[in-house]
Amino acid sequence: MADRVTEHDEQRTEETEQRGLTQPLELRSAHGDSSVPAVDGMPEAERRPREAIFSLDDVMVSYNRKPAVRGVTFDIGKNEITALIGPSGCGKSTLIRCLNRMNDLIPGAKVEGKVLYHGQDLYDSAVDAVEVRKRIGMVFQKPNPFPKSIYDNIAFGPRVLGMKGNMDELVEQALTHAVLWDEVKDRLKTNAFGMSGGQQQRLCIARCLAVEPDVILMDEPCSALDPISTGKIEDLMLNLKNEYSIVIVTHNMQQAARVSDRTAFFTVELSETEERTGRVVEIDDTEKIFTNPSDPRTEAYVTGKVG
């Protein structure tokens, strides 16, 4: 097993280097000339991020053969915050869950197309889903602390992964990182259920940081929180951006505008058989999406003309 992992590592660095060579060219042409023809069926204005950590190619996720979202092709940048916005049922959450193979846990879920992470196909049969989830952490909509002490919540990940080192230090580090240490340092041994909702969500982020991931996926992390807790989590995200790549699903457009570097707008398409399937309308720099989107549907949504 260990051999196989290193093999993958080598392969990945190789591919990342190749990417590094070719990408700046594409980037420049996309920036310089706005009349570049549509790539992969995407609107012309699509721009590539500086360095891609995920490359999605015609991804379709279906539940029991019914497609929930399809035709997703875009890159997600390293050390960037990428926001996925759109109306309910447009497949944002479905899509974010296929970035760390959480959809594997849902019976009947199937992912087609290519999800490349550092150039490696996450759905390759040789890829260990458990290893994927260790590297690509996730924070959920509703804070889900474990029914254990604050300390054990943080220590759980490092323990199951057999991480070496001083556990007390690890816990302190993770909590400090999530700007929670000062609030909880005197009650580390108390049950995490005694914390406020906002603290619980930051605990979940700290828990995720403790296993030293590469990417953090956040599925509507603030939807259950008040504006003050939301503000704290947004500040935290901006802090974390330097070390991690973040993908966030949000229903709150102001949130997307405040924190994200790039925004993908999804919509729901009704097929002839009345089946609802999510599609990507466009992905671009957040500023452009909110001030000068290429697609009228995006404009209608971000300006609040449609719900």
Binding site: R133, F140, K142, L161, C208
Partner: protein
């Protein structure tokens, strides 16, 4: 305007009488069951309390009623419960974990297992006695009428109770806990062992205690597998012959009593002791549930 200005009417006499009648009917039903239990308790206490002495607990059964005690049966029951618990906890919890966490409900064999477990809970206990006799006491295992055979027979009898209770406890752990654990890179087994099972221990423990509380009063299967009725020694191991409290009580009741030897108060005292043990077990189960139950 005028319609709204009128005061809100009072309920009609007919409706009020109906309401009253319904509540009284309910109270009557509750009353009947409480009354029956009360009569039973008073009767048993009146007959047996005088005999429930330390001497009664520490003496072996005897022809002489005044020297007779329940010691062998008491320790027989404790041994049976021990064997039963050691059998039902691992098997019951493992079955529950499989059915809740791994089994694909769309497969026919998993649905078949589920259906069977539900049916097993309704099988009369004497049938388990026959099963124990045919497969444990005689037949393939040929253990003889010993503690091990008795404990396993009772275990088979209450296994469905443990499985159902454990499944419910496991199902009560929200999926978000499993997701949170898996998202950190824990394997499914690590998630079950370190998150799901610890969180469901109170529910599982409650189920196990209630299952044992059912097993402790079972008589028929033990009679069928050939438990002894008259023994003057405590069990010394899994291969000891044994008697159990319900059997001892049954034996005392069936013995002809006369002026010299009246066994009936002994039976009452035995019942009282059995009921005290049951009460303690159920109290522990309730306490466990209230003390450790996780509010999600």
């Amino acid at each position: 305007m005028s319609a709204h200005a009128q005061p809100v009417g009072t309920p009609s006499a007919k409706n009020r009488a109906k309401d009253r009648g319904f509540v009284i009917g309910l109270l009557l039903c509750v009353g009947v069951s409480i009354l029956l239990l009360g009569v039973l308790l008073v009767d048993i206490v009146a007959d047996g309390a005088g005999n429930l002495t330390w001497n009664f607990i520490t003496s072996f059964s005897s022809i002489n009623a005044d020297q007779s005690g329940i010691q062998a049966a008491f320790w027989g029951t404790i041994w049976l419960m021990g064997v039963c618990a050691l059998f039902i906890v691992p098997v019951g919890v493992a079955t529950a974990v499989y059915l809740e966490e791994y089994a694909d409900e769309t497969r026919w064999y998993n649905r078949f297992i589920e259906l069977n477990i539900q049916n097993l809970a309704a099988v009369p206990s004497i049938v388990y006695g026959i099963l124990g006799l045919a497969f444990l006491v005689r037949g393939p295992l040929s253990l003889g009428p010993v503690i091990l055979a008795g404990g396993l027979t009772l275990g088979l009898l209450v296994l469905p109770v443990v499985i159902v209770a454990s499944r419910e406890a496991i199902r009560a752990v929200p999926p978000s806990i499993r997701e949170g654990s898996m998202a950190l890179g824990a394997t499914q087994w690590q998630t079950i062992w370190r998150q799901v099972l610890p969180a469901s221990i109170p529910g599982i423990a409650t189920g196990v205690i209630l299952a044992l509380a059912r097993a402790i009063g079972e008589t028929a299967p033990l009679i069928v597998i050939g438990a002894a009725t008259f023994i003057a020694f405590n069990p010394e191991g899994l291969d000891s012959a044994f008697t159990a409290m319900p059997i001892q009580i049954f034996d005392w009741i069936t013995r002809p009593s006369n002026d010299v030897n009246d066994y009936r108060p002994l039976a009452a005292a035995g019942i009282l002791l059995l009921m005290i043990m049951l009460l303690v077990m159920n109290s522990v189960a309730i306490w466990l549930r209230n003390r450790y139950e996780q509010k999600w």
